[in-house]
């Protein structure tokens, strides 16, 4: 009998190591796998395909005695949360040992790289264009076009940079991919190297992800002979949210302050150390092996409109069934929050949902029919960003959330533009006045003016998008700002 337990950071943070240790003490061999992404069940224990969760060390004896029916969830692979997903990028989640080259090769690993070596740069880029794959980091820019620019750029040195500085609250797909299927990211980067003629790749991982850093370092060593002459180096961020912005990330890799660079020049032309550079997010690069191995058409068949393929959506915050949900574009926000996510964890009504991290808009349930698609979200003044969904119940104070958006911007601003550096601080002060009931109408007008200035006068998304959470909170939840608030208090 085989005991399988994830070694994903979330499982460990919920006590998976102690559970594994208890099984070992009882003489059972434990295999550490990636996580299935059903976070409310972690630590999830798998015994011959049957799942139990969430398991504490004290439950182990009962499981082995067959008296843990209350934790038994049946066959894991048939669980409704998984059965309704389309897992392309996370096809291996829960199924393989993250650092096993054997498991990786047995599940189709390196097939994409093999194809890439046969067809060469131009054909690789053509496949990527035909797949419709768009950058998963937030902007949704077509990956094939970016690669082609780098491929055609002159330069004796070129680089592939993987942006693994996933700093948005409510997102963890990059982390799970790096911890659970690190070779997939490495293969995607090696294919990118072949496509554009780059010999070296960097993975820039935020320091808040120690487990992902350790896994990627180990995987890069193991995979080195398989991807040679391409080389991959793992670098660690230093706690600056703005370094998720690609030009700031490049400065940071070069050893400078993580200030945002003005564009042009595009990183594709003048990127890392002034050389042509592909900067892609983890999920974008991790989607590449599938496209090369299965064909562009196979990928493009999923999705809606111009949003092709699948999106690993992350269900987070006050949600009953939180975790990773990969699906084709087009599912609605309400389906995600209520049907799949099961509503709030607290059991209270859902009041607000923030989509796309700290720079994303807050949505009220009235907008739950919005389909998950780049264009549909833009149409309702929102953004998909990195696909994180944070649920709040009815105890949330939306004025406090708007205040936090400004505060976060003030803490993380790189300081280059005045509207962002100063505006965020002023914004926070103005919301404080609103909260205390001071000249509500004129202070609301001031906040919206300030937001306009930040939106158009900021160089990057931090200053430019902070207005999204602020203004959406004010627009959709006016009762938390106006005279009703004072009446309620």
């Amino acid at each position: 009998m085989q005991v399988r337990i994830s070694d994903d950071a979330l499982a460990i943070a919920c006590g998976a190591d102690r559970v594994a240790q208890r099984f070992t003490e009882l003489g059972h061999a434990v295999v550490r796998t990636s996580s299935w992404g059903m976070h409310w069940l972690e630590p999830l224990v798998e015994l011959d395909g049957i799942g139990y969760g969430p398991v504490g060390p004290g439950d182990v004896d009962a499981i082995m005695a067959g008296t843990a029916d209350h934790l038994r969830i049946g066959a894991i692979a048939d669980h409704p949360f998984l059965a309704s997903q389309t897992r392309l990028t996370f096809a291996r989640a829960g199924r393989t040992r993250p650092l096993s080259l054997e498991d990786y090769a047995d599940t189709g690993g390196w097939l994409g790289l093999h194809t890439a070596r046969e067809i060469g740069g131009e054909a690789i880029v053509d496949m990527l264009k035909a797949s419709g794959l768009r950058g998963r980091g937030g902007a949704g820019f077509p990956a094939g076009i970016k690669w082609d620019t780098v491929r055609l750029a002159r330069g004796h040195r070129k680089y592939i940079v993987c942006n693994a500085d996933e700093g948005d609250s409510g997102t963890f797909a990059d982390r799970m991919l790096m911890e659970g299927d690190p070779f997939c990211l490495i293969e995607g980067m090696a294919i990118a190297g072949l496509a554009v003629g780059a010999g070296k790749g960097f993975v820039y991982i935020r320091s808040e992800y120690p487990h992902a850093i350790a896994k990627m370092r180990a995987a890069a060593l193991l995979a080195a002979p398989l991807i040679a002459p391409f080389e991959i180096e793992i670098r660690v961020g230093a706690g600056a949210y703005v370094c998720g912005e690609e030009t700031s990330l490049l400065n940071s890799l070069e050893g400078k302050r993580g200030e945002v660079r003005a564009k042009p020049p595009l990183p594709a032309i003048e990127g890392l150390f002034g050389c042509p550079t592909v900067v892609n997010n983890v999920l974008t690069l991790a989607a590449v092996p599938f496209v090369l191995a299965e064909g562009a058409q196979a990928y493009a068949e999923y999705g809606m409109g111009r949003s092709r393929g699948t999106m690993p959506i992350q269900l987070a915050g006050n949600i009953r069934y939180g975790g990773l949900y990969e699906t084709a574009f087009g599912v609605t926000l309400g389906q995600l929050v209520n049907d799949i996510g099961g509503g709030t964890a607290s059991g209270r009504p859902v009041r607000a949902v923030q989509v796309g991290g700290p720079l994303g808009a807050y949505f009220p349930p009235a907008l739950f029919d919005t389909p998950f698609d780049y264009e549909a979200f833009t149409a309702v003044d929102g953004l998909i960003g990195h696909g994180g969904i944070t649920v709040f119940d009815d105890s949330v104070d939306m004025a406090a959330q708007a205040r936090f958006a400004f505060e976060f911007c003030a803490i993380e601003s790189c300081g280059k533009c005045t509207p962002c550096r100063i505006g965020a601080v002023r914004g926070k002060e103005t919301i404080d006045k609103l909260i205390s009931g001071d000249s509500v109408a004129s202070n609301l007008a001031l906040v919206s003016d300030l937001c306009e200035t930040m939106k158009f006068g900021s160089l990057c998304a931090l200053g430019g998008f902070t207005p999204y959470p602020v203004m959406s909170a004010i627009t959709h939840f006016p009762e938390d700002f106006g005279p009703e608030r004072q009446a309620a208090e």
Partner: protein, 141 residues
């Protein structure tokens, strides 16, 4: 306290690195718990940078400390998904418990957002925290 040869050793370990400043600063921070003026001067000289450039980098990133603080540290997540799961009252309770003995730092997301409130102590992560669990974690620090 670090010595010149410690810093030289750290700088030397990154001799082949392209853009070595952050990796060097990470090592200094990890080994000594802060980055002193003396080490800034030495790193600047070794990399052929001005002191001001290196200082500017040290001060830009939240991970690097410019003053020593020997107290144990808990990094508590204060970002939105953890807020939605009660991180703010938890942070208030933790601050009371910590007093002057433990330093509590804010961190903005540990990627455990479906299972918050979350915290990091050293390289260890903890999720589904409540005031009892955080008290237990603090007790052994």
């Amino acid at each position: 306290m670090e010595t010149g040869s410690d810093i030289a050793e750290i700088v030397g370990a990154h001799a082949d690195c392209e853009g070595p400043l952050l990796p060097i600063l990470h090592d200094v921070q990890a080994r000594f718990g802060w980055v002193s003026e003396a080490s800034i001067a030495q790193i600047a000289a070794a990399l052929n940078l001005s002191r001001a450039e290196v200082s500017g980098v040290v001060s830009f990133y939240h991970d690097f400390r410019r003053t020593p603080d020997p107290r144990p540290v808990i990094r508590l997540c204060r970002a939105e998904s953890c807020q939605a799961r009660g991180s703010e009252p938890l942070a208030a309770a933790a601050a009371t418990l910590a007093g002057e003995r433990i330093r509590i730092e804010a961190v903005y997301c540990l990627g455990l957002c479906s299972a918050g409130p979350a915290a990091m102590i050293g390289g260890d992560v903890h999720a589904r925290l409540d005031s009892e669990r955080i008290a237990a974690l603090m007790a052994v620090l």
